[in-house]
Each structure stands twice: as C-alpha cells, then as structure tokens.
Amino acid sequence: MSAIVDLVLGVITSIGGFVEAGSISTSAQAGSEYGFQLLWAILVAGLMLAMFTEMAGRVAAVSRRSLIAAVRERFGIRFQAVPLTAELLIDILLLAAEIGGLAIAIRLLTGVSFLWWILPVGLAVWLVLWLCGFNVIEYGVGLLGLVTLSFVAAAWTLGPDAGDLARGFVPSVAHHDRARYAFLTVSILGATVSPYLLNFYSSGTIEEKLTEKRLWINTTTAYLGIAFGSVVSMGVLITAAMVLQPRHIVVDSYEQAALMFVPVFERWAIPIFAAALGIGCFGAAVEITLNAGYAFSQALGWSWGANKPRREAARFAFAFSLVLLAALAVAMTGMDPLRLTMISVALTVVIMPAVVLPFLVLMNDDTLVKTHTSGPIGNGILAGITILAGLLALIVVPLEILGG
C-alpha cells in the first residue's frame, strides 16, 4: 500500500513540478511562432529526460550514491571540476530566471515592478528550505504545481484538430525563419533536460530511502510522471498556437504569454496564468537551490540532506544559501527574466555532453549498479544521445546569434 502511495505521490509531484520558466517560455514561443510544428521536440525532450531520470534514480537506489557522488568516485574530482562549476554557474542563471519569473507573476497581479519582489521571493525560497524537510518540499511544491494543469485544460477547451496535432509530432522543416526554428528546438531540449533535475532526482531517491527492491517505483515515476509533465508543456504550446499565432502575437514577454488564457478563462485568465507561472517558478527555484547544496556537498564530501537538522549539515545549508544569494544578485540587475531564461537554457545545451557522457560509463559499471546495468539497446540509445548532445552543443551558440 505504501508503495502505491509513494508511486502516486511521485507521479503527481513530477507533473506538478515539470513546468517552470524554461518550459513555459520555450513552449509559448514555439507555439506562437510555429503553431503545432514543434510538438515533436517536446516529446523527444520528454523521452530523453525520462530516460536520464530513470538512470539517475537507478544509480542512486542501487549504489546509495547520488549522481554527482558516483561521478566523483568513478572519474575523480578533476574530471568533475569543470563541468560541475559550469553547471553551478548555469544553475545560478536559471535560479535568477525562476526568481524573476515568480516576481513577474506577482507583478501581473499587483502592477508593482518585479524588482521589488526579488528579495521577498528569495527570502521565501530560503525559509522553505530552512524550515521544511524533503517530503514537504517535494510533495508540497508538486501538489501546488498542479495548477499548471490549467494549460492542459485551456488546450482541451480550445479543441485543437486531432489531425493537425498528429502532424505536429512528426519532425518537419520550418517554412520560415529556419534558424529560429532550430534554436527553439534546441531550447526546448535545454529547458527540459536540465542537469539540476537529474542530480535533484538522484539525491531525492536517497533522501526518500528508495532501495533496489523498489526500483519499479523509480522506473514508473520517471516515465509516467515525465510523460504527464510533458503533456502540460504541450498544453502551453497548443494554447499559444491556437490563441496567439492567429493574432500574429510572438511571445517576447510573460505579459504577452498570459494573453493565451484570455479566450478560455476570461476574467480569471491573468490570475490563473500568474498562479501557474508563479508556482511553477517557485517550485523550480526551491529545487535548484536545494540541488546547489547537494552538488557542493556531494562533490566535496560534506554531510548533506534536507531532512537533517541544519546544524548537522551546516556546510550544506551554507552552500545553498550562498548560491541563492548569488542568484538574487543576478536577478537584481533587472535583466528581463524571459531573456535570462532563454540564455540559461541555451547554455544548458552547451554543457549537456559533459552531463550525458558519464551515464554511458556509470550505467555499465556493475560495481555501482550491480545487475542493473544497461543492455545493448539502452547503451545504443545513450551513445546516440551523447553524439547528438555533442553536435547540439556545437551549434547552439551560432543558433542563438542567428535565431535567438
């Protein structure tokens, strides 16, 4: 019974925690500029994320090591130093974008400049991390995040044509602005397969004491939760495609994106959009900050855990507080949160090969995953994704210049 409860909660929190600044902005831009044409990109990115999440959880459940700890042990801190530093820097940018996204959500409701909300939002994130244990953070944020299902409700109400939707799942070439189309494709990938999610998930597996015997919960949560989560992202794209594209509105700000709810929710459109954006961003901000604490502590061998009293994991708490402060400083510069999000997701793609490559080794190391090593098909797909990640890392910066 407890396993079923764990599974249901896991899937629900995966759905609620899936949508954040990155997925809302990339999906809304894709829908408003290319209609349903980029639905396939969300599907592919979701499949990739589910696959990596399952592997990260498998490593953690079997070896009792988080992803970062396993990489450090297998490759050494020297190999890990550069990608980990890059990942932490990108996490700071992403965190600043999420904090900015939440501040914008409050601005949509109050009209007060988003810069005034940056510090209160930062304080709220820090208080949640300081006062709450892992389950409260994960389930609380995930359950609140269910408000993002409003995107699916909106898409459903608008009643898209099934044939048009089906065509969107077939990869195709854009009829206009091909560089922009390619940039958005890569951005959707970067927004979905965020490195912080993988380590957060593996650390969470350890925090929740998931064992080898219950690996099926890990597999089901990863695939089912992310599948449903991807449906929410698709809801954003479909709603933007049906409401904004016919009016030739291209999303350059969250204020424009919010208009996609008006035909469906009318007077409630802006409050619902603000709630979905705000809660999505808040959840992601809490997870990124917590993951920064995990990353520092696991790489340097410090005591860590959201469930531990803070005095027993003082350096862990110091690390996440420090990263939060750095992100607040970035957010306070006043840079547009949507622009910051797009830069962060593009940079995520740059470091993706360094994130993906270790999986090829870890998943074949039987001292780590025992009998749960990947088979030839899994390895083949992983190798393919690694090559693809390398290619995307090379082209993402030129694409950002040409189509960003």
């Binding site: 949509l108 409701l109 009016r247 030739h248 509105i249 350059d252 204020e255 424009q256 008006v262 007077r267």
Partner: protein, 159 residues
C-alpha cells in the same frame, strides 16, 4: 651614379611592362572576374541580410501592435483588470522602444524606404501605446476603442 639611375629607370620600365602583360593575361581577367563576383555576392548577401533584418523588425512590430490590440480589446470586454492592462501596456511600450532603437541603430536602415516607413509606423505605435496607457488610467473606454482602430499592426497596410 648615372649608371645606377639608368638601372633604376630600366627596372621601372620592366615593371610597367610586366604589369601591362599581367593585366592582359587570362589569369588576371579571371582574378578580376572573381573579385567582381565576390563583390556582387557580398552585396547580394548584404542586401538579403538587410532584407531579413527589416523583415524581423517588421514581424516584431506586427506582433507588438497585435499585442496592444489584444490587451485593449480584452480590457474593453471587461476580461482584464486595469492593473494588468497598465502593466502589460507598459511592457509593450518598452518592447516597442527597444525594437525602435535596434532598428535605427544603423543609419542605412533609415535610408531604405521600407526601413523609414517601418520606423515611422513604430513611432506611431509607440505614441499610441502611451496614449492607451493614459486612457486605461482614466478608464476612458471610448477613447481607447477609437485608438485600437488606429493600430498600425497589419503588415499589408505598410506594404
């Protein structure tokens, strides 16, 4: 001394002769053709880059005009609060100004007739958004309704 001057004169004469031969040679005609072709390609690429840049600005202004219309119409229909409408129009105004600044960054854009027309339309949109903000603040629906009809959103209109 005299013999050195003679040598230099001979050298110059030979150089002139050589360069004259060189100009007549097929190799140089080929080089000239290559240079002309490169210049033509560069100018075509330059023109198409300008075209694509103008098209991008055009698309952005069209989007911002449509955004302004959508916000105002929803406000007039009572679907948006005055607070949100003000906030959204303010953001739209900022984006129009950003785009205008980007458009006029290169003087060539304004020398081009399409660029100049685009800049004028953008300025008009900017003023219109500012006026709409005042209308919303004053809750003057009639004035806002009249202004929405003036939004230079349609691309066809500018063509």
């Amino acid at each position: 001394m005299q013999s050195r001057l003679d040598d230099e004169g001979e050298l110059k004469a030979r150089q002139t002769q050589l360069s004259r031969h060189a100009c007549d040679s097929p190799l140089v005609s080929m080089r000239a053709a290559c240079i002309a072709f490169a210049a033509l390609t560069l100018s075509i690429v330059g023109c198409s880059r300008d075209d694509s840049r103008l098209a991008q600005h055009d698309k952005k202004f069209e989007s911002l005009g449509a955004t302004t219309a959508a916000i105002t119409e929803a406000w007039l229909a009572g679907q948006l609060s005055g607070t949100y409408t003000q906030t959204a129009l303010e953001k739209t105004f900022q984006l129009v100004e950003q785009e205008r600044t980007a458009l006029v960054k290169t003087p060539q854009a304004l020398q081009d007739a399409r660029g100049a027309r685009l800049s004028q339309a953008a300025e008009r949109l900017s003023r219109l958004v500012a006026a709409l903000m005042l209308d919303v603040a004053a809750a003057d629906g009639d004035s806002a309704r009249r202004r929405v009809a003036d939004i230079p959103a349609a691309r066809a209109e500018r063509r």
